[in-house]
């Protein structure tokens, strides 16, 4: 207890020096590219920026799958020469009435054999009134949302990168959510609009015969035009899919002087596009983006080059954004922004100043207190406190953690709590001295008795903050993280470093009385 071997001393000092070295990246530039250079990131609340929480539109994911299931059901039944009536899709599932009650069992049998994307994806059952229903399982819906997020993250990243945002962070949260953090962008409106667009582009032939009819014939849909006023009947069948695009760019059309979006297909798309246009010269071909008709030009001649142009009366920004969206690809499902927090740069700077001053002031107050009330041992505690701050910064840098305003508050509180261990030791030594123990005995007893209490009291605080980190969200996690790290560094600096300073002092001077 009262002896520190050279090795032990060297390792305690070594840890502190390593800590100091790890802090360096936060204050100086990287001297060599090969050197690992990790530093603390400033949170959005300190540097300004935006935080968006996006959620996959589950209704749309389910509706998409159900529409697919309806198609598969129709084809499966036809293939097996089974009949059906009233085949419809509702929010809950696909339903139809078998041609005759006797066909119900064969219907169930063939439909249950339909391929599933995940095990137990859907259930085929006989409902009341002789109908057959196909419903999606909750587990399958969850899986679809999860997959949709996985696909979406990549597309979201491409879209955001294309806007020129610096250091965007895009992460999954839970099954159906994506967190987008955009440092330096305090007005996220454009990003929100970009992410709020699915950008699913398809090409359909226009059903000219159905123009003017109130109810579209089977296989034809009435789609709104982008002007929002009129509707155009188009065939539901997708002739060419925008997923086969390889490139898209905005430019000014030479002839009309309007902004246009040029696109190029890959070989599959080019071939399909060529075939459709060759077979339908003279007909109108609708370009549909997110279920809205952008334009429906007449096919003048077969387009075999695999490239085309859209002119929809765009502004420069609209054309640029549309080209960007087409390049980045379509989202598998719409994303809704369900939480938005944005902080302007001036507020962030204000917060850094306020947080920094408070941290400095609190630190000075605690140091003054320890010096006044505990003398020499108080100064040792202060050295340990400084080492504590260095080690906390070092660990946060090592994790490349994000420092938020509540995180700064956490650091400050850690410094206030950190001296508790020193106070416990010092008070204990005082008591032992008052009981008439010698200097050596008092110090020994002080260390020994106080250690249990220190571990107990820090363990409870550690538990509370680990829980806060696990269950908390956003800024609270930053707070819990700094306190959790702070408790660990506190244990090190008080149980090893400040004690070592006291022991070394004793070994050097061999005092008969202690300065307590």
């Amino acid at each position: 207890m009262m002896y520190y071997s050279r090795l032990r001393m060297a390792s305690v000092i070594g840890v502190c020096l390593i800590g100091l070295a790890l802090c360096l990246p936060n204050v100086i530039r990287q001297p060599m590219a090969s050197l690992p250079w990790r530093q603390i990131h400033l949170g959005l609340d300190l540097r300004g920026g935006s935080y968006l929480l996006l959620q996959v539109d589950m209704n749309s994911v389910t509706a998409d799958r159900l529409r697919g299931l309806q198609d598969e059901t129709r084809q499966t039944l036809l293939k097996n020469s089974l009949g059906y009536r009233n085949l419809t899709t509702s929010a809950h599932g696909v339903t139809f009435t078998p041609r005759t009650p006797e066909e119900t069992q064969p219907d169930l049998k063939v439909l249950r054999a339909m391929p599933m994307n995940v095990p137990d994806e859907f259930r085929v059952e006989q409902a009341e009134g002789g109908q057959v229903t196909i419903t999606l399982s909750a587990e399958a819906a969850r899986q679809r949302a999860y997959d949709a997020v996985t696909q979406s993250i990549e597309i979201v990243r491409r879209r955001i990168d294309a806007t020129g945002a610096i250091d965007p962070e895009i992460t999954r949260q839970g099954d159906d959510r994506i967190i987008v953090e955009l440092p330096g962008i305090s007005d996220p409106e454009r990003v929100k609009n970009l992410l709020g667009t699915t950008a699913k582009m398809t090409f359909h032939l226009v059903a000219d015969s159905a123009i003017g009819s109130a109810v579209p014939p089977p296989g034809v849909e009435m789609l709104p035009m982008t002007d929002g006023q009129s509707k155009l009947p188009v065939f539901s069948h997708v002739d060419v899919d925008g997923a086969d695009l390889t490139n898209a760019s905005a430019s000014i059309d030479q002839q009309s002087g309007e902004w246009a979006v040029n696109f190029t297909f890959d070989s599959t798309g080019a071939q399909e596009f060529g075939e459709v246009t060759r077979a339908n010269v003279g007909k109108r071909f609708a370009i549909v983006l997110d279920n809205k008709v952008i334009e429906a030009p007449v096919i003048r001649t077969a387009i075999t080059g695999g490239s085309g142009q859209i002119t929809g009366g765009f502004s420069a920004q609209q054309a640029t954004d549309m080209a960007l969206l087409l390049r980045a690809g379509a989202l598998p499902a719409p994303l809704n922004v369900i939480e938005q927090r944005s902080i302007g740069p001036s507020l962030g700077a204000d917060s850094i100043r306020a947080g920094g001053y408070s941290l400095a002031a609190g630190f000075v107050l605690v140091i003054a207190f320890m010096a006044l009330f505990y003398g020499r041992f108080g100064w040792y505690a202060n050295i340990a406190l400084l080492a504590n701050l260095v080690l906390m910064t070092a660990i946060l840098s090592l994790f490349e953690a994000t420092l938020t305003l509540p995180g700064m508050a956490g650091m400050l509180l850690t410094l206030g709590m950190a001296v508790d261990a020193n106070i416990l030791i010092n008070e204990r030594i005082r008591e032992e001295v008052a009981r008439g123990r010698s200097a050596l005995q008092a110090m020994q007893a002080g260390f020994e008795r106080a250690t249990g209490t220190i571990v107990d009291s820090n363990a409870t605080a550690l538990l509370a903050h680990v829980m806060l980190f696990v269950f908390g969200t956003g800024p609270v996690r930053g707070f819990a993280l700094t306190i959790t790290i702070g408790i660990v560094t506190t244990l090190f600096t008080t149980l090893l470093l400040s004690r070592m300073l006291m022991v070394r002092w004793y070994a050097r001077t061999r005092p008969s009385t202690l300065p307590v």
Binding site: A354, Y374, A461
Partner: protein
């Protein structure tokens, strides 16, 4: 050497304050405060922050002192119906609050986001004005954040209980947790009176003061336990008094340093942190006094027979 000896001392050496004599006063005061806090909790209730209430808050800085009429006019030009436009911080800072549509309505999330953009456009029409902060939390997210916050609070309390139970006899654990719950109610009462917004950061503040308060109780209890072994025949009331007196200097020392660390934050920490820091300061005072005036008397009430089984015959002899 100048810095060698301490210059000041908190508590004179060897105090013998009879805390347990005032135990009923302490418990009664605490009970009154906690009941009052509970009444405040139900009426008028906590001021829920954006995290838990949902809605939109936009902070803006105008050029020169804020003119609310101009701001309201600009907002209504963008068809925004502000629930509140108020000053905040300096004279040129304004805070605009909007209620979000209920989550029973379709498209409520999209409409919420459109509302934020409209407020931005409205502020953009004012010369020299800039948006400092714009937060929008949808109804479903706020419910979830509230649930998570309460979950963190509840589980932390259980973990603390489990730890103290594991480390001490059950009398200690029960007294500690009852005291913590009483501390918690007082912190809530404080929040209601001060109108500080109850949000995630406040949950963190409350958890921190609970952690601090537990820490304080553990130190006193540790000493009680040590003295129980040391003085086998001392009556429990006397023994608890002795333990409190022995640890008094530490208790006051530590609460002072935490208090000093949090004080600058309360005074200069800015709008977002000062509420947090004031709750901390309140919690430090409550947590420190509850160790002495609540947790110790409770331990005495519950442990009088059990913890001192061998003391009674000795006392009679």
């Amino acid at each position: 050497m100048m810095f060698d000896r301490p210059l000041l001392r908190f508590v004179p050496r060897g105090t013998k304050i009879n805390f347990m004599r005032g135990r009923f006063i302490g418990l009664a005061t605490s009970a009154v405060l906690s009941v009052a806090s509970l009444i405040l909790f139900f009426h008028p209730g906590l001021t829920l922050g954006l995290d838990f209430r949902g809605g939109i808050v936009v902070e803006a800085r105008t050029q020169g002192p804020a003119d609310f009429n101009t701001i309201r006019a600009a907002l209504s030009a963008q068809h925004v119906n502000a629930a509140g436009v108020q000053s905040f911080g300096g004279p040129d800072d304004v805070l605009i609050r909007l209620d979000t549509p209920p989550d029973s309505e379709p498209d409520h999330e999209a409409r919420t986001q459109a509302m934020v953009d409209s407020v931005r456009h409205a502020i953009g029409t004012l010369p020299g004005a800039q948006v400092l902060r714009a937060d929008a939390v949808g109804a479903s997210v706020s419910k979830e954040l509230f649930r998570n916050g309460m979950l963190a609070l509840g589980i932390s309390l259980l973990m603390i209980l489990a730890y103290i139970w594991f480390r001490f006899e059950w009398e200690f654990a029960i007294s500690a947790v009852v005291t913590l719950v009483l501390d918690l109610t007082k912190a809530i009462g404080f929040l209601v009176i001060t109108h500080f917004e109850f949000d995630l950061v406040m949950v963190a503040a409350i958890l921190t003061i609970l952690g601090y308060s537990t820490n304080d109780k553990v130190v006193v209890y540790d000493r009680v336990r040590e003295n129980l072994r040391k003085y086998r025949t001392m009556p429990l009331a006397e023994l608890i008094d002795l333990s409190i007196n022995e640890t008094l200097s530490r208790t006051l020392g530590t609460s002072s340093t935490v208090f000093l660390a949090a004080l600058p934050l309360a005074l200069f920490g800015g709008a977002s942190l000062s509420g947090f820091a004031w709750v901390m300061l309140f919690g430090i005072v409550v947590g420190t006094s509850s160790s002495i005036f609540i947790a110790a008397p409770l331990l005495l009430l519950m442990g009088e027979k059990r913890l001192r089984r061998d003391a009674r015959p000795a006392a009679r002899n």
